[in-house]
Every structure is written in C-alpha cells, then in structure tokens.
C-alpha cells in the first residue's frame, strides 16, 4: 500500500474508535506525540517516587510504612509499564532514561514541590493522585493500544493510592488540633499545584486539538480540571478542610463550581526548571542511575558467563 492508502486506513481505524497497535502504520507526528507523552508520563511516575519516598523511614507506624512502601513501589511499577508501552513505538529505554536525567524530557510539575510533613503523604494521595486519576481514566480509551492497556492497569492501582491518602487524612483530622493544622497547611500548599497538573488552559494548549482528533486525548485540560474541582469540593467538606480559594463556589447556572485559575506564571517557571525541587529531583534520579550501573553490568556479566558455560557443556 502507498502512503495515502496507509494514512486512509489509519484514519478509518481512529474514526471507528479501534486501537492502533505497535506494528501498524501511523503518521510520524502521531508516533512522536505518543513517545513524548508516554515518556513524560513514565518519567513522572519515576520521579514521583521521591517526594513520598522521603517519608518512608519516618512513617509514624509500621502500618503506614508498609502502605507507603507499597505505594512507592507501585509508582515504580507504573513507570515501568509506561516505558514498556513507549518502547513499542521504537524508542529504547536507556535512551529515555538519558533524556530524563539530562533534562531534555520533562515530567509533571507537581513533583517539583517538597513534602514538608507527613500530612503531605495523605494530601498527595488525595489531591495529586485524585487529579492523576481524572487525567488517566480517559487515557484507558486512548487510541494507542499499549498505552491504553498500561493505563487500565495503572488506574486500578491508583484507586488504592487515593483511598489510602484520604484515610490517612481522616485519621489526622480526627486527631489533635496540631494534626488538623498540619492537614490544612498541606492542603493550602498542594491545592494550586494540583490544579496545574491538568496542564495550561485550553486557549494556551496548542496540541490539544490534534491529540483529540487522534483519540490520544478525550477531554481538554479545562474540562478535566473542572471535573477534578467538582469531585474534590465535597471530599474537602467531608474532611472539614478549606480549599484555599475564596472564589470557590457552586454556580447553579453552569452546574459546576467556579474557581480561581492557578498562577500560570508559576506553572511555566516550574516546568522550565525553576521549581523548588527541580534540581534535587533530577540529581537524585541521576545519582540512582549512576550508582546502579555496577549492578546492571554485573548481572549482565553473570548472564554472559552462564550462557558460555551452557554452550561449553
């Protein structure tokens, strides 16, 4: 088939809401968009281990420690599902790791904020993972098969993440005055960065239309942000915490909550490297990669030795 016929076949597959699979012909721009998006998503999961990993050794009980370990291990797992999906598009995992640690590929801006108290573990589960779920559920129907399938696995596991966070916060708000203050202080810090997780406003998101036409995205950034706000307000009420936006109120005409947009200048600054923890996160990832090099080499040398023995035997 010539290129026009292949393109027509691709378009027809998308139009019929069928999935594109790894060895199918696809436009170069579709492939590139997916590689960029899936890689960034994978990097976010990997870097996302750090803010919470910070608290594993200081967890307040064995129960909380076991939960947090399992959660951080899941984040690693999600990163690996996604690297595996990205590789089906013809990129190499080593190459993606290089792009991350050299700062040439990005990850979610949210992980460039510090975790200052144990309440942050709960708030990250509730707000950050809650926002991630809003973003990720529609990706289970993404037109690219391997990405969609990875997202199905991830979404199942994210539900645990969000619930453990909310339960942790419930325990704290039912605790001492000091604990309630910690929760409120954490919510105040994470609310705005959580809203930023959906990306720039639609008017400032030039790739959205193309991604929607390709069935990679199913909803615009602003639609998902609104959905998140609507979902979160009653959850905040049940916790008895205040979301730090004086303009947040129900709009009966729209059938949605009105809310203040986050500071987009801050978002741009954090994305481009000036967030509170950008340098620390990348340095830590680079160090882990470099310090693990001897393990990778040793395992490979062992495998090669075993293979030689088998040939000799």
């Amino acid at each position: 088939m010539d290129e026009t016929a292949l393109a027509a076949h691709f378009e027809a597959t998308i139009a019929a809401d069928q999935r594109i699979e790894p060895r199918d012909w696809m436009p170069e721009a579709y492939r590139k968009t997916l590689i960029r998006q899936i890689a960034q998503h994978a990097h976010s999961e990997i870097i996302g281990m750090q803010p919470e990993g910070n608290w594993i050794r200081r967890a307040p009980s064995l129960r909380r420690k076991a939960i947090l370990l399992a959660k951080v291990q899941d984040e690693a797992g999600h990163g690996l599902y996604l690297y595996s999906a990205a590789e089906t598009l013809g990129v190499d995992r080593e190459e993606l790791t290089e792009l991350l640690i050299s700062g040439r590929q990005k990850y979610s801006s949210i992980f460039n904020y510090p975790t200052l108290s144990y309440a942050d573990v709960g708030v990250i589960g509730w707000l950050v993972d809650g926002a991630a779920i809003c973003n990720q559920v529609p990706l289970c129907r993404c037109s690219y098969g391997p990405y969609a399938r990875a997202m199905v696995r991830i979404c199942k596991e994210e539900s645990f993440h969000q619930r453990q966070g909310y339960e942790l916060l419930l325990a704290m708000v039912n605790g001492t005055e000091e604990q309630r203050r910690m929760v409120q202080e954490s919510v105040n810090r994470f609310w705005w960065p959580s809203l930023m997780m959906f990306g720039p406003p639609d008017a400032d998101s030039p790739n959205t239309q193309q991604s929607m036409a390709w069935g990679i995205k199913r909803h615009t950034n602003d639609e998902l942000r609104q959905r998140f706000v609507d979902m979160t307000v009653p959850q905040a009420e049940a916790l008895g915490v205040t979301l730090p936006d004086p303009n947040l109120r129900w709009n009966p005409e729209r059938g949605h909550y009105d809310f203040t947009a986050p500071d987009w200048a801050e978002f741009k600054a954090v994305i481009s490297g000036s967030g509170p923890c950008n340098a620390q996160r990348l340095a830590q990832r680079r160090r882990a990669h470099e310090e693990g090099a001897w393990v990778r080499e040793a395992a490979r040398a062992h495998a090669e030795k075993q293979a030689r023995r088998e040939v000799a035997a």
């Binding site: 291990q73 690996l80 590789e87 089906t88 190499d92 080593e94 190459e95 391997p146």
Partner: protein
C-alpha cells in the same frame, strides 16, 4: 518480519542495556497465558523475577512466561493483509451458514 514482532522495531539488545523480554501471565488455572507487557533483564531467570515483581504485585497470576522479544515471529499487522484473506470467503465454516428448520431440536 521476525524481529521484535510484538513490540515494534526494537533492537534485541539496546546499547549498554539488557535485552527485552515479552511477558505472558496466566491469571488463574484454566485460562491461557496473556501478553501483559515487557521487561528488561540480563537473562531468562532475572526476566521471570522482574516480571513477577512488575506484573503480579496483586496476585494477578499463577504462571508467567517470558520470551525474548527478538525470538517472536509475527504476521503483518494490517487487517486487510492478504495473509488473512483465505478465511474471509469461507462462510461455510460457521454454523450459522446452515439453515435448519426451527422445530428440529438440539441443532
């Protein structure tokens, strides 16, 4: 059509890295193994362990197969490919091809 058939045109051993293995998991007894994704590992044994850690953290499997991605041979991806054409015009292979009076039992 032999290399990296499941996962696209990837090299078996990327520069400096470990080779790629495709992972198949049997969810429970009585079911087929199903492809779930891939892992990198230096050898088959480590591939199995990595696959266990990655794909069965919540009892999702009772058995795992790992296969070097480079050892898989796959058909061409397009559904319109003539490879599958021979099955296309043989409607008589399906039970619904045969008209049987409704009052004949057990057919």
């Amino acid at each position: 059509m032999t290399d990296a058939a499941v996962s696209g045109g990837r090299p078996d051993r990327p520069r400096g890295g470990w080779p790629l293995w495709e992972v198949f998991v049997r969810g429970k007894r009585g079911l087929n193994h199903v492809h779930v994704g891939s892992v990198h590992a230096p050898d088959a044994e480590m591939a199995l362990r990595n696959a266990r850690d990655l794909y069965t953290r919540r009892n999702e499997g009772v058995s795992i197969w790992v296969v070097k991605a480079s050892d898989i041979t796959a058909s061409s991806p397009s559904e319109k490919d003539p490879f599958f054409a021979p099955a296309g015009d043989k409607v008589y292979r399906h039970p619904t091809f045969y008209a049987i009076p409704e009052d004949v039992p057990h057919l």
